[in-house]
Amino acid sequence: MKREKRNYNFILGAGLILFMLAFLLIGCFFTPYDPDAMDGGAKLAGPSLSHLFGCDHFGRDMLSRVMKGTGTTFFVALTTVALGGGLGIFIGAFTGYFGGWVDEVLMRFNDAVVSFPPILLALVFISLLGPGKYNVILALAIVLIPSFARITRSEFLRQREMDYVKSARLMGASHLRIMFVHIFPNALSSVLSMAAIGFNNAVLMEASMSYLGIGVQPPDASLGRMLSESQTYLLSAPWCAVFPGAAVILLALGFSMLGDGLVKKGGR
Amino acid sequence: MKLLEVKDLNIEFYDVNPPQKVVKGVSFSMEKGEVLGIVGESGSGKTQTALSILRLLKSGSQISSGQIFFKGRDLAGYTREELQRVRGRKIAMIFQEPMTSLNPVLTVGSQIEEGLLLHTQLSPEERKKRALLAMEEAGLGEVKKLYGKYPHQLSGGMRQRVMIAAALVTEPELLIADEPTTALDVTVQAQILELLKEINKKHGMGILFISHDLAVIRRLCSRVLVMNEGRVEEEGEIHKVFEQPEKEYTKKLLAAIPHRRESLRKRRRG
């Protein structure tokens, strides 16, 4: 009866992500120029028909570089969420389902970790592991584990007392089967919105660390590094900052809207 | 002059599609010091009627037509400031859920005093004195200790007494009580009803008592209004309605009472 409000967050967020996904997938197979090819005549050239996003200080085509860089950022975010989310869900599922002192200890630890700013934790791990793409993935994944574990745990804690779980147990289903076949689908909606938030965080943190020079290293194209390089030529070539920055924002915005949309969907 | 007179009141929920009428042409009136009961099942529009008197309807519902006269003046014609002066000063209200109707982060004392703070020029000491008096009158013990406590430290019955003390403190002429005993257990319920009766006698305060429970209404009210699906089904003296109900609906409601009693007794025994 009540007038349904359209879930604009979900629609727009999903749209943005699909758009960026298309943009970077094209970049995997085709870019207008070689992203590393330098053209001495086109140094800091403004946007034009031949270079839609302009060129950087080496005369490299920005559109091609932004395509590649978006790909790197997305790859890092995806693997980070897969790794950190996967581990977090696993830990949360077990501690939530079985409880006991392991749960108690792990959750205390979790609470302590969650209160630290993620970027600080990521910096700690990077300083131990050293810079580089795969270390960034590892560091960010570790940072994401607690929040996934927490949300999965609370869902499992709630669901395990429900009748459908009890009846599954009576039917003789194994613990693992109950956890992942029976309970997990019910926890999916909150885990999914957590994943969207995780993506958003990973994108922003990867960009920040690459900007600081301790993230993705050359020759991998990275949006953060492009932004850091653009600062020297900011007045003469603002496009070198605007387009990589816009790519980061659109990705982050897409995921944060998707997250809000999923929360709203789950709430209904 | 009547204390309260409601004429052809209509209330509509307009945030549903299509808009839904929940109160349809309700009229009734109350004399000074009278205790009037409104009885009906949930969804009968009795709570909406009560809320509309002080214009406390939730956004999404509104009075679509009708008039509400308080001592001869139409409340609909009041400005927001005038309305604020009536609320809590001339007409006070208590609600069904004593658990959630008090602000959890303010002390009991400050919530009881608030009416005085808003509507009088009394000094803080005088306000406190009157608040303590009202608390005693509402049957709260150890009032000085209670004064500085927070709602969550009190039982449901005590909280409802706090609500009543907060309503009493400004000595209003009309108290609207919306299912004040429903959330309480039976013994506490009886105590609260006794309390309301006493207050009515002592101060001559009119009480508009809303309940789904005819048995409760009978213990307190002199006259009753039976509501069903937004309409007044039957109106009359409490004895008349109970002993010679005219409408089928009222009969059905009455038939439900002993059954309820029975089950309650069973529950208490078991």
Binding site: A112, S115, F116, P117, I119, L120, L123, V124, I126, S127, L128, P131, L204, A207, S208, Y211, L212, G213, I214, L227, Q231, L234, L235, P238, A241, G245, V248, I249, A252, L253, S256, M257, D260 | L54, L56, R80, E81, Q84, V86, R87, G88, R89, A92, M93, F95, T100, S101, L102, N103, P104, V105, L106, E114, G115, L118, H119, Y150, H152, Q153, M163
Partner: protein
């Protein structure tokens, strides 16, 4: 009082655990500090002598104890790459980071509280919608990119400040604060947007509560209902958010300092990470972590002061 004691106990335990793990991570895992300081050409005797001097031959717990004792008295060891005591390196950097944090936090408070209340009061109206859309966008802008945008617009185009021309506090106090406005705005705005969102939804959920109806029934006006009744309740979740925000600002100021070439703790931390200068990294990490823990402690205390339910339950 009991609540306070319990919280203080937790505070001390947390501080010890966190500093122990940081110590373990940065002094033990990276390998032998004596070897890395002397280089590969050092003789065995030289290494052993330095190990003894640094106390590296003792058990880990003893080493930690010594380090903690020194740390508390202000001795944080010696930097590898600068060959000077860490505390001397940090001395004039800490105030810069603190100033940046305080300014950013003030901006967040001054903007997000009125906006949060305003948007909640005007929920669904066009101005609320416009603000919420802007909000959503600002939330997704990384602070350092916002810094670049601010540099471009206000520094290079409008010339309100000179990018890169940092003014030390010793030169001019107001010049120093003036230069910090742009970077603190860059840190503050995304968090401000989150703050608006949090406060708005907290206020909206409180407005649904029964006690609000009671307050109106008692004759409160809209303003009084908001400021006396609703806000105190709505502040509770927001308070936790603010505590986390302070920690978040400190961490992110490390990034922003790089954008505006401010010589604060952040620049030093990034340099020490790149140079594998572990004593410096350890010192900064433990300082910032302690700050985070202390802020959380203060938030807990404040929470207890506002919410009577917390105090009694403990």
């Amino acid at each position: 009082m009991k609540y306070l004691l319990k919280k203080t106990g937790t505070l001390i335990i947390t501080l010890i655990i966190v500093s122990f793990f940081s110590f373990l991570a940065f002094s033990i895992i990276p390998g032998d500090a004596a070897k890395s300081r002397l280089g590969t050409e050092a003789t065995k005797e030289q290494v052993e002598m330095l190990q003894k001097e640094l106390g590296l031959d003792k058990p880990v717990l003893v080493q930690y104890g010594n380090w903690l004792k020194n740390f508390v008295t202000g001795d944080m060891g010696e930097s590898y790459s600068y060959s000077m005591p860490v505390q001397e390196l940090l001395q004039d950097k800490i105030p810069v980071t603190i100033a940046l944090t305080v300014m950013a936090f003030l901006i967040i408070l001054l903007l997000s509280v009125p906006l949060g209340i305003f948007t909640a009061q005007h929920e669904g109206q066009w101005l609320d919608r416009v603000i919420m859309v802007l909000n959503q966008i600002v939330m997704s802008v990384p602070g350092f990119f916002l810094g670049i945008l601010i540099t471009f617009l206000f520094g290079l185009v409008l010339k309100w400040f000179t990018p890169g021309a940092y003014v030390p506090v010793s030169e001019s106090f107001f010049g120093f604060l003036g230069y910090l406005i742009a970077p603190s705005a860059a840190i503050a705005l995304p968090r401000c947007a989150m703050g608006v969102k949090m406060l708005r939804s907290a206020v909206l959920s409180q407005l649904e509560k029964d006690y609000v109806r009671t307050a109106y029934a008692r004759g409160n006006g809209q303003r009084r209902v908001m400021y006396r009744h609703v806000l105190k309740n709505a502040m509770l979740p927001v308070l936790t958010f603010w505590g986390m925000t302070i920690a978040d600002i400190v961490a992110n100021s490390m990034v922003i300092e790089q954008v505006f070439t401010i010589p604060g703790m952040g620049s030093l931390l990034i340099a020490s990470i790149s140079n594998r200068d572990y004593p410096v990294t350890l010192g900064i990490i433990v300082l910032v972590a302690s700050l985070v823990i202390v802020v959380n402690f203060l938030v807990d205390i404040l929470y207890g002061r506002i919410d009577p339910r917390v105090r009694v339950r403990q």
